[in-house]
Every structure is written in C-alpha cells, then in structure tokens.
Amino acid sequence: MKSNLFFPVMLFILVLTAAFSMTLGKYPLTLNDIGGFFLFKIFGAGSMEPERYQLLRSLLIDIRLPRIIAAILIGASLAVAGTSFQAMFVNPLVSPSLLGVLAGASFGAALGMVFSKSWVAVQLLTFCFGFVAVLISVGIARMHKGNTILLLVLGGVISGALFTSLLSIIKYIADPFNQLPAIVQWLMGGLSFVDRKVLLTAGIPQLVSIVLITFFSGYLNALSMGDEEARALGIPVEKIRMFLIFLATLMSALTVVLAGIIGWVGLIIPHAARMIVGPDNKVLVPASAFIGAIYLVVVDDVSRMLFNVEIPIGITTSLIGIPFFAIILRKAKKGWN
C-alpha cells in the first residue's frame, strides 16, 4: 500500500467503524438515523420530533459516543505505548505493563473502592499508583549501575509483583458481597465504566501523548539499536527514554482510569501494525494508533453484542489476542534472533 494513502484510508476505516458502532445496541438504529440526528443537531438541517430528538440525544451523545471515543482513545493509547516500549526496550515481546503501570493502577483502583466512597478518589488513586509503580521500577534501575534496559525490566518485574501482592491483600480484606465483585469486574475491564467528564480530562492528555510520541518516533528507531549506538548517534538517551516512559505511563494509567484493565492490546497491535507497515517507527507509531483504535472499537462491539449480557472487554481482548499472538509468533520471530 502506498504510504501516503495509508493514513487517509485508516482514518476512513476508523470513522466508518465508529459510525457503524453507533448503530449497534439494545435499541438498534440505522446509519440514516445517526446521520439525520447529527445533521439536525449541528446544522439544524431537516426536522425532528422533540421526543425522538431527546431519545437519540441520550442514546448517541450520552451513551454511545463517549463509549466509542473512549474505545478509540484507549485502543490508540495502549497500542502507541506498546510500540514505544517495544522499541525502547529493544524487545518485540514487551507490553505497556512492563514497568508495572497496570499492576500499580489496579492496586490503586482496588484501594479506592475499599477505602473510599468517592468515585473521583478511586480514579485519582488509580492514576497515582500507576505512576508510583513505574517510579519504583525506575528507582530500582537507578540504584544499580549497569545495563539500564535490563535493570528497568527487572525493576518492572519487582514493582509489578509488589503491586500484585498488595492487590491480593486488598481483595482479601474487601467486603465479598459488594466491594470484591466491583474490584474483580474492574480488573476485567469494561467501557461501560466510561463517563463523559472523565473522558474529557483523560482524553486530552492521551491525545497529546500520542502526538508527542509520534513526533519522537524517529528517535525510537535509533533507541531500538541499543543505548550505545543511540547515544553515538547524538541522542541524549536517558532523557529521551525517561520522557517516553513518562508519556507511556500517563497514557496507560489513564486507560485504567477510564475502563479498567484491558490486556493484550498493547502487545498484539504493535505486532499487527508492524506486519502491515513494517518496523520503521515513524510510520509504525501512528499506524499502531489507528489500528489499536479500530481494533478496540470493534472488540467493544463484540463484547456488547455477542451475548445478552456484556462481556468484560478485558476478557474479549485476551480471547482474541492470545490466538492471534500464537499465530503471528511464527512470522514475528524472524526479527528476533
């Protein structure tokens, strides 16, 4: 595919997927209904009965649109965070959870659910502990001299294990009738948690991070050749890496704030994107963003529509991601040894 056509095509597919997803739900709509509604709302074109307008408004603007926008942002964020981690840790097998951000955020959320009544507190704790976990990983890596990449990975293992254990403690002491189910459901992820106000606060930093990482993507190629080479190519490796880790952590922690833990997206989407556009991060990063966004919108549709009850999206992404990963392993391993 011509690269100058690729992104317009991706954008078109994304818009199409989003529009189609708007039609899906307990109250089915057609693309015509949706088009008519938005024409009326934005341009005042055509006419619409006030009751129908109210119904469509609450369905589309209050329920479906935020959900789809959240899916787009989360899918893109996880995919971009995953792509940048894979390049900067010189390993196509790592995912955004490498430095413990998801473990930390899970613990923060559970902590909030058990000890606080306020949903805002839960979200704040989720976000903060995502960062705390990554800071611990980085701190452990900084304590020792040597191969920074390896130390960061080990720091991530330690930090992740720490917060997983702490999460177990919270689960153990949580009230098994109300709190525990809420925690468990949160850990399985779900876009039904999304609310509009949070979407606005979380969405902007996520978008900014995606754009910034796209700007830095030329450095990612050099970083993936190893620290020494990158530095010899004139890149202030430590500074850039810490900045990218900060952005990736910000994005990933916010996905948990929005919709709980959604696994596998950050691992498989970069692979899928690499198979389509090749390994050059300048193209790969934005391509991952689009493919991740489209993927999560579709998977959310599947989660909503497949059965009468909604399946937590974290389960769907895993069930789709695992076999996909097993299949692409064969193709992807070419570049590893």
């Binding site: 190629n221 993936s224 010899a232 190519l233 390994p279 590893w336 040894n337």
Partner: protein, 314 residues
Amino acid sequence: MELKTLIKADRVSFAYSRKTVLNNISFTIAEGEVVTLLGPNGCGKSTLIKVMLGLLSPLSGRIIFNGENIAHMSPKYLAREIAYVPQIHKSSFPYTVMDVVLMGRIPHKTFFFSYSKNDMNIAVDALERLSILHLANRAYTEISGGERQLTLIARALAQGAKTFIMDEPASGLDYGNQLRLLDQIVKLSREGYTFIKSTHSPEHALWVADRAIMIKNGAVVADGACDNVISDENLFHLYNARVSVLKLNGSLRVCVPRTICGCMELTGSPQTNAFHDLAGIPEDKMKKNIKASHHGRISEKDESGVFSNKRPDG
C-alpha cells in the same frame, strides 16, 4: 609531518567500580591517520573506545577533540564529528537498510523531525559509495554479516562525520568480508577520513593502518608506526604469542606463528628470504603448489605442506 592534531587523550583513567580498566592513557591522533588499537582480551580497548566516543566519562583525564574537551560537547554535536561503527549485530526489528542508514541523519535534525529529501539523497549517496545501493530496501536482519558491516559504515558516512571509531569491525566477518572491509577503510582514508579501530589481528594493522597503539592492562605499551611497533618482541609481550613478523616484497609484512615457522628455520630473523621467495613465485606455480597441498598432506603435518612453496617444484 605537520598534521593537525584531531584527538588527544590526556592522561585518561577509567575504572568499573574498583577495577581499574584504563590507567593514565595519553596519545594524540592526527587528522587523516588510520590508527589501530591492539591488545589482548580485556586490556581496555573497548572501554577506551567508549571513552573516546563520550559514552563513558573518564575517571580522570580528558579526551580532546579539535581542541575541545568532549565532556563539554553535546552528544549531537559530537555525533556530527565522530561516528561510531559498532561490531556487526542483529537488530531486533527488521528495519530496511535504508532506515538504518537514515539513522545517521539524526544528529543533523532538530528536536521534532522527519527526514528531508536531502537526507534521503545523502543516505543514497552513502550506500552508493559502498556499492550497496541495491540493498536499500532489504531487511537489515536478513542480509549477510559483511553487508551489515557495510551498512553500518554507510550510516557513519551519512552521519557526515570525518572520524570513524570502530570496535573490532572485522569480528564476525568471514575472510573475504574482512578483506573487503579493509579495502573500504583504505579507500575512505585516502579521501581524508580518520580511522580509529581496534582489532585482534595485527596483520590488519600492518596492511591498512599507519599507526598502532598497543594496550595492555589498561596502559599504552607501544605507540608508533605499524612497521616499527608490530614486531616479534612486542607481539610476544602483548599476546604472549610467539610470532614472526615477515617482510614480503616491498613494505608489506605478515605475521606467522613460530610453531608454523619452525620448520622454516626462521628463528629470530624476521626478514629471511623465505617469503621473498614465496612472493616471487609466479601465480600459476602458486596455484599448482596449493593444489598439491590439497591433494597431499592435509593432516596434522599440514604445516610442511603449506611451506612446500619454499622448495619450488619440490
């Protein structure tokens, strides 16, 4: 010789925690020189290279490039002056050769960047100079070791630096590719590039370098023109290996292990006539002899087979 001093190592010392690796190393390198660092495994060659590239900060002393301490130069500025050509490696991601060469343009880019037409032209030009333009769209992970090494040199060219620092560039290359690598070094040095490379093969130094710096236990033990420095005694001192440095026709020299030389009675006298003879044998006769040794004795007594050249038609 009134050559401009390019790099000066001024009493450089370095240690990993408590282990001293470089001990008070000083030397100067002139513009356009090809300098080889020789020394046994673990002598500090690689560390010295990293210090010269600014990847490691010396414990004491300084590296001065063009009159300026590299510790005070930004990585970006340094990268425009000095290019690092690492040992061949496999990338974890199958970048195209072009992508890899384009990385050399990073030091010329501003904070947020994409590659311009000019960068592309420079990269294509670099590939052309090394005659590997046909590889441009191949995956770096799928080309041969020799081709990867040439790609890394092309990247250094694209970087626009005039000084190349190479860490054992020949390691991992087969014999033919080693020779082609040396050819490229000779070619580029004639164009005015300065080379500092480490190697495990004194012959490579004899063939392409102007100068050799010998390092043992983190200190310079010999420094000078290759023909003077690479001697039987120095190589014995450096590697604890008994070697004869023999002079061929003209000024070319080769190293031959004494155990193999033994049968040629070369002891102590590097400039024996044996190799003058060898060099003087017409090519067809050489071939014949090689053939003979192929048919005949290729066992543990092979040494004598190799040197059957000594007795032409014998």
